[in-house]
C-alpha cells in the first residue's frame, strides 16, 4: 500500500473516531453513558475499520501480484529475445566459419559446426514472435541435412564435395537466419 493511502486511512480513522465520540456524547441519553457502552462502541468501530483495511490490503496485494507477474513475463520475454538475437548472430558466424573450414579442407570440424546449425534451425521454429516462410525454412533444413550427408561422404572418401555449391547453400541459410535476427532486433 502506498504511503499517501496509509496517511489518508489514518486520518479517516481519526475523523470517524471523533465523529462517533461526538455523536455518542450528543445523542446518547445520560443514563446510558457508561464505560461499557463506550468501549463496545469503540471496539465495534475498530473491528469494522480493521476489517475494511484488511479487505483493502487484500485488493492492493492482488494488484501487486498481478503487476509483478506481468513484469516477470515481460522480462522473461525480453531475455528470451536477447538470447535469440545473440544465438542467431552466433549461428550466422558459425556458418561463415564452416565456409572457411570447407575452403581449407577441415571437413570434420565443418561437420561438427554444421550439426550445431542443424540443431539451432530446429530450435528456431519454437522462438515466439518471429514470422518466416516455414516452407522455405524447411527446404533449407533439408539442404543442411544433405550437406551433412555429403560431408560424411567426403570424410569417408565416398564422394567429392562441391565446395562452391556447398558454400552457396550455407549462404542461403545464413541469409534467412540474418533476416530473422533483424526482425527480432526491430521488435
Amino acid at each position: 500500500m502506498k504511503k499517501h493511502i496509509k496517511i489518508f486511512l489514518g486520518l479517516l480513522f481519526i475523523i470517524i473516531f471523533g465523529l462517533i465520540i461526538g455523536l455518542y456524547g450528543k445523542y446518547t441519553p445520560d443514563y446510558q453513558k457508561n464505560i461499557f457502552n463506550l468501549s463496545t462502541l469503540i471496539g465495534g468501530y475498530i473491528s469494522a475499520y480493521g476489517l475494511f483495511v484488511a479487505i483493502l490490503q487484500i485488493f492492493a496485494l492482488q494488484a501487486i501480484t498481478q503487476s509483478t507477474q506481468t513484469a516477470v513475463k515481460e522480462t522473461k520475454e525480453k531475455v528470451e529475445q536477447i538470447l535469440s538475437i545473440s544465438d542467431l548472430a552466433k549461428i550466422v558466424a558459425n556458418i561463415r566459419f564452416i565456409e572457411e573450414c570447407i575452403n581449407s579442407d577441415k571437413y570434420e570440424l565443418a561437420k561438427l559446426r554444421l550439426c550445431d546449425v542443424k540443431d539451432f534451425m530446429t530450435r528456431v521454429e519454437f522462438i515466439k514472435r518471429i514470422e518466416f516462410d516455414r516452407e522455405e525454412f524447411g527446404r533449407l533444413k533439408k539442404r543442411v541435412e544433405i550437406g551433412l550427408s555429403n560431408l560424411d561422404k567426403q570424410i569417408n572418401n565416398k564422394g567429392k564435395l562441391d565446395k562452391i555449391i556447398f558454400c552457396q547453400d550455407m549462404e542461403e541459410v545464413a541469409t534467412i537466419l540474418s533476416t530473422l535476427e533483424n526482425q527480432l532486433k526491430s521488435k
Partner: protein
Amino acid sequence: METRYADLIKKLTKLTIDGNVEWEKSSTEWQYRLELKSATFVIDKMQTQIVEGILYNTSYELIMYNNRNIEISIAKETIATNSNENSILYELYCAAENSYLKETETIKKVMDELNELDLPI
C-alpha cells in the same frame, strides 16, 4: 525394387524430361537435387574402381528427404562398365543432369541459330 518406387522414378523421369520439374546441382560431385513441397530428392552417381585404371562399376542412388528431414533410400542400382543395360535410375540421372545443364536445349537453340546464319541470302 518395389513397384511404388519404380513408379515414382518413372514419374520423376517423365516430369523431368517434359520440363515440368527442374533439378539443381547439389553439394557433391555427380549429385543433383529436386526440391518439392513435400520432399527433397537427391540423385547420386558413384564410381567404384574394380581393376585399377580399367574397370569401374557405376552406382546410382535416389534418396528422398521427407519433411521431418529423415533420409529415405528409394533405390540403388549398380551397372558394370561393360554392361549395355540401362536402368531406370540411370535414365533419371541423365534426365536430372540434362535438366540442370540444359545441354539438349542449348544445343538445339545453337543449332537453330547456326541454321539461321547458314541461310542463303
